[in-house]
Symmetry: C2
């Protein structure tokens, strides 16, 4: 008998009919002899509806109150799921993040999990009940206020809870059949990966693969908790995320897959004085605004001018904040101006075998060039190479790279509705 | 500077526009120098929408999960109200029943408040913030599960919190201008009462006056907490509920008002053996089903038969349960059968002066008779007399009694939308 933590996203519980299907799936696990703890997101569009209400009463809602408001979403879905399971003759009890012992920092809207003390969940499971836990939320250690973990937070809740409960596996149910060599919406013959290492999954998630949230993979890697990515619409085998590159044998594929990302924008700071401290002033300013930047390119100083352009990419959501912060330091730092470009896309090739095959990056650039797509920025890591293109060229670039590295398969990839939080 | 607890029902916060108006009212109290704790119900129809969702996943939802589900309603309204107040430049923080220290029994759906430990609310007020508290909900002392207090529970939350905080007054905002001598929807010249005693208000509430929940008045009486009933749509003076009959002077009006109730049904048990224990068996059965009965009439034993009919009234909602329970004891108790009648109405005349004026009851019966309305059951207390009529005769009976006792006034009564929980 195994202890399984299952996570169901917003699209999996978007209405009563879907909730009843999730209940059947959980009961099937119970019948198979497993103990189940289920982590749920808010129903489908309910988060957007709550945000819309908030906008109607205040242009700039307090983060504390926004968290109080949004956590009503999981409260509704988890109570309904518990009712649906009870209705099938199995006992189920729902718990808020706070009741489940999810202790966080007090940064509303993007709190981080400090500790998980799942005493009540353990008791419920020991008493034979299915425990349903609200994803995405917790309680701040210092203020005792309710917090949310930010986008993808339910994945992190599931992994953290699985680790704290010493579960055998954390199953993440989503709207695709697993992790693919590319987004099946763009590449028709994208192939499902049976198994990927934490490192590969981290790079894929960081590069825009939406199937798993980056923080949840970091958490799973740290705690050595296996993640099983599965579809909530089918019984297909899915993808196991486990093991590190060090453990994998020589037969592992050179390349894992192609990821893409449309969520970033590019800021170019024009004619920055080419002197010590100028770049630091710029990046300190962005960091002080709590914005994570991704790729950075500093051009060679234009001859004789003593000035250089600096470009970097960042989440589109943070664009206005970053622009405002940089405008405030323009006079002091002495740059000429700022350009904002939100029509970019990023294509990344990820593979553990890449580090021992230096030719991979060259083939990657060549395949993009052959597709007639211009490369604007480049960045690399040990097991990844990424480029920025026009957003309109993104699909063509993804398909070209996928084809060039012969990543396709025969298995049909099924794509369902959008993912939740 | 006073500490004021204000309670706003579901219709007062039914949409963003109304929530902003409530925020303005609270800010006006703050500007006038008062500290404010506001208790809110769920927005308008949101409770019914949640109940509808529950019905879609389970025909008989667990009370624990139903409480978890329904408490999402206040979570939404209170967070929005806090945002709206913050947006007006005053600090506000929302708290769940559990966070506000509302400790209850563990009877889901109709928990009773055991204790209120409002440490966080006191701190928020001391720090200059408006505290917004979810009405209708608490946390069970033993199980630590979330509970709800049942219909009208938000009134009780407000009074209990006001008492625990030693507030100066508990203001209940509703959709009428106060407590009236009769329902202004039925009696056009119904007069607003400036002040009523706890005892009078208890009788009015018990007899169907919906402006205040019975349990909240009981709580207020026990704690000697003055209640100020006011309209959330106007700035009219409303009604003060305070003081007991012992304190009132001789000039007090003989009659307080006329209440009516359409929420009851009548069960008649036919041909009950007229012997010791038969009636007890019937009422024990009903009590064991946790049903509160109201009026009871046992007819004189029909000569020679040794059998008698027993009629009693009870809430319509409990009708099916009571009938089923009684059917199960029919054979053993030996009565002939059961009649169920849900087309009854109750008219009550309430007044502290009544106990020293025995002629009042006679005039009451006479006025109803003169209106051509048949009286089916009668019950009396020290300060009240009630009769049951056909439901179709109820409005005529209320108007006739109100007129006979000359209770009308000149002030125009304004009636707004339906009340919340």
């Amino acid at each position: 008998m195994a202890l399984v933590v299952q996570k169901y996203g917003g699209s999996s519980v978007q209405n009563a009919e879907r909730i009843k299907r999730v209940a059947e799936r959980i009961v099937a696990s119970r019948k198979a002899g497993d103990d189940v703890v289920a982590v749920v997101s808010a129903m489908g569009d309910s988060t957007d509806e709550l945000l819309d209400l908030a906008a109607q009463v205040s242009p700039l809602p307090q983060p504390r109150e926004l968290d109080m408001l949004l956590t009503a979403g999981e409260r509704i879905s988890m109570a309904l799921l518990a009712m649906a399971i009870n209705n099938l003759g199995y006992e189920a009890r729902s718990y808020t993040g706070s009741q489940a012992g999810v202790i966080t920092t007090s940064v509303h809207g993007k709190a981080r999990i400090i500790d998980v003390t799942p005493g009540r969940i353990r008791s419920a499971v020991d008493e034979g009940a299915v425990a349903i836990v609200a994803g995405f939320q917790g309680v701040a250690q210092d203020t005792k206020d309710i917090t949310t973990l930010g986008r993808g937070g339910s994945d992190t809740t599931a992994v953290a809870l699985a680790a704290a409960l010493h579960a055998d596996v954390c199953e993440i149910y989503t709207d695709v059949d697993g992790v693919f060599t590319a987004d099946p919406r763009i590449v028709a013959d994208a192939r499902r990966l049976e198994r990927v290492t934490y490192e590969e999954m981290l790079e894929l998630a960081a590069c825009g693969a939406k199937v798993l949230n980056l923080r949840s993979v970091e958490y799973a890697r740290r705690e050595r908790m296996p993640i099983h990515v599965r579809s909530s619409y089918s019984n297909k085998p899915g993808t196991i995320v486990s093991g590190s590159m060090e453990d994998t044998d020589m037969e592992q594929a050179l390349i894992t897959g192609v990821a893409h990302d449309r969520s970033e924008a590019k800021i170019t700071v024009l004619a920055v004085p080419d002197e010590p401290g100028a770049a630091a002033a710029i990046f300190n300013t962005v960091a002080d605004a709590e914005i994570n930047i991704d790729m950075i390119v500093q051009n060679v100083s234009t001859k004789g001018t003593g000035k250089t352009d600096i470009s970097f990419t960042l989440p589109k959501d943070d664009g206005p904040t970053a622009m405002a912060a940089l405008q405030r330091i323009q006079a002091k730092t002495g740059f000429d101006g700022l350009l904002y470009d939100d029509h970019i896309g990023k294509v990344s090739l990820v593979g553990a075998g890449m580090r021992s095959h230096p030719g991979v990056a060259a083939s990657f650039f060549a395949s993009i060039g052959a597709a007639g797509v211009n490369i604007e920025l480049i960045s690399t890591s040990e097991i990844r190479v990424s480029v920025v293109t026009r957003d309109t060229d993104l699909d063509a670039a993804v398909a070209a790279v996928h084809n060039a590295f012969d990543l396709g398969g025969e298995e049909e990839a099924v794509v369902y509705a959008g993912t939740g939080r």
